[in-house]
Amino acid sequence: MQVEQEVLSLPSKETEFTRLKRFYSIYEKFYLLLMEKEAEFGIAKAGTIPNFVILSPALNNPNPIYPKKFFIYISGLGIGIFLGISLIAIRYLLNDTISTQKELERSLHASMLGGIPEYSKEKMEVSKLVVDKNPKSAISEALRSVRTNLEFICPNKKKKLIAVTSTVSGEGKTFVASNLSGVIALSNQKVILLDLDMRKPKVHLAFEKENFKGMSTVLIGKHTLEECIQPTSISNLSFISAGPTPPNPSELILREEFDLLIKRLFEIYDVVVIDTPPVGLVTDGILILRKADIPLYVVRTDYSKKSAKRNINKLVKTIPKLCVLMNALKAINTYGYGGYGYGYGYGYYEGETEKETIISKIKSLAGVKA
């Protein structure tokens, strides 16, 4: 029974066996193929030789080799210093004007009489007499101290001849001459101001008077002295304008009449002040300076050239009495080295101008013309 059973199942086993055998042969074939391929690739791999050799592995450097920070910083610093210095140098070379009293005093052989602050109330087209209008202003105060110092230079002399000059025009020669005459007149001395700058007469403009006759016509004998003397708003102060411009101003000054005229004026006046032509261009100024008891040379802040100092030192050799006056000192306190510059602060009698100056400063900063 059992055997019969087994025989009966034989054909199905037979089919199962053939089925599995088929699968087996497929896998075996596939496996052999892979083996073959592996051997093939192994041979191929072993046959390839690389054309490079790693001598050492790559280094990982955290700092870039370019751009070089240090080099840029150093060159930046260098260029910065260079630009700074060259800017200073250029500004120094371009600024050929005298800007502080200290700077002027340095290596100046003439004696320094003092300084006069800048007139900042209004823009002055022509020189004006300001000492009578505002006797308490800083300008008046400064001029009074100059007057006192003049007394020191020329003591015990009743009659004085003061000649005011500058290097070129525009430095405040007429302003100083007229206002200095004004403060001297206010000190109870009889003063006369002569305008001998016959090429560019300005004194009559300062006093707002005419200039039809004056020094030139007196010196040629056309008018008398008395005819030409004009009064001013200050009772002790008179002046003679330059008169029409003559063709030969230097010759007129050289004439004997000029000395006689001065002599005659001293019979009436205590002080004769002369507005002299600038000495930078023409020589007639020097002739008058030699005659003066007090020759005064006006230098203007931030306007007069540094070469003016050389000019002064040269003049001092022939005119040892020559005194220098610094005009238009700046009002602003500049915080510089060693102090506060030469600002004069507020007006002599403060309180009257303090607020005004602050407002006007703001105005001038804003570009508003007062």
């Binding site: 200290k102 009489l113 006797p135 105060e141 306190n333 602060g345």
Partner: protein, 244 residues
């Protein structure tokens, strides 16, 4: 023993506050200070409120603008003293002068004319603000030779000294006493005046403090100056104010 006590007493007084002001323009109508007796009275009241016991009025004497004489000053002083009495103020008023160093002052010194002084022969004078005076040395010599003790008013306001602090020292060493304006200490006049006033105090070169009061504006400004650091420091110096 007595001297020791006296000195100590002096110091405590000086530390407290100022009782005497020695530089003001309260005498009305004779300079650029108080205009009217009413203004002057107002100023005196303000000084009393500050705790001052005595005020020495020092009108300008200047050759060309304020031609004050001892007669004019003493007349004005008497007027104002009467007014003080009428208004029951307790402040004491005296008068001297602030001489401007000009030709007229030199003439007075040369002629030996009796000058107005404060306390024991202290002579208050001022110079130009902008230009150095050529007469300073001669003036100092003449003052000292006549027995005056020269007191230079507000040196911190003289711009001709600003280029170098040693210029102040040079003048101080000539034997001048320095009087600094109280209002300089708060920068009322200018920043530079404040800085130099401070430096003078730091260098113990201040002998007197003055209000230099010309009007109520200076009283207002003093309120600020009196609380400044340098004001307190100045009071520690041996100021001469309270002995005037």
């Amino acid at each position: 023993m007595f001297g020791l006590f006296k000195k100590k007493d002096k110091e405590t007084v000086a530390e407290d506050s100022l009782f005497v002001d020695m530089h003001s323009h309260v005498l009305p109508g004779i300079d650029d200070g108080a205009d009217s007796p009413e203004d002057a009275l107002e100023l005196l009241k303000a000084f009393e409120q500050f705790g001052y016991k005595k005020l020495i009025a020092t009108p300008h004497i200047m050759g060309d603008f304020f031609r004050n004489t001892p007669e004019i000053i003493s007349e004005k002083l008497q007027e104002l003293q009467c007014l003080i009495k009428d208004n029951n103020l307790s402040i004491k008023l005296e008068a001297a002068a602030e001489y401007y160093l000009d030709e007229w002052f030199m003439a007075k010194l040369r002629s030996g004319e009796q000058l107005l002084t404060l306390g024991s022969n202290y002579l208050l004078f001022e110079t130009s603000y902008i230009n150095e005076s050529s007469f300073l040395d001669e003036a100092l010599f003449l003052m000292k030779s006549q027995g005056y003790k020269p007191v230079m008013a507000h040196p911190e306001r003289y711009t001709y000294l600003y280029s170098d602090f040693s210029l102040f020292k040079k003048i101080y060493e000539k034997g001048v006493l320095f009087q600094v304006n109280i209002n300089s200490l708060s920068g009322y006049y200018s920043k530079a005046a404040q800085v130099f006033a401070g430096k003078l105090i730091d260098n113990c070169m201040v002998d007197m403090l003055g209000s230099d009061c010309h009007g109520i504006r200076h009283i207002e400004a003093m309120k600020k100056a009196r609380i400044s650091k340098h004001y307190k420091k100045a009071l520690q110096l041996n100021l001469l104010n309270n002995y005037l």
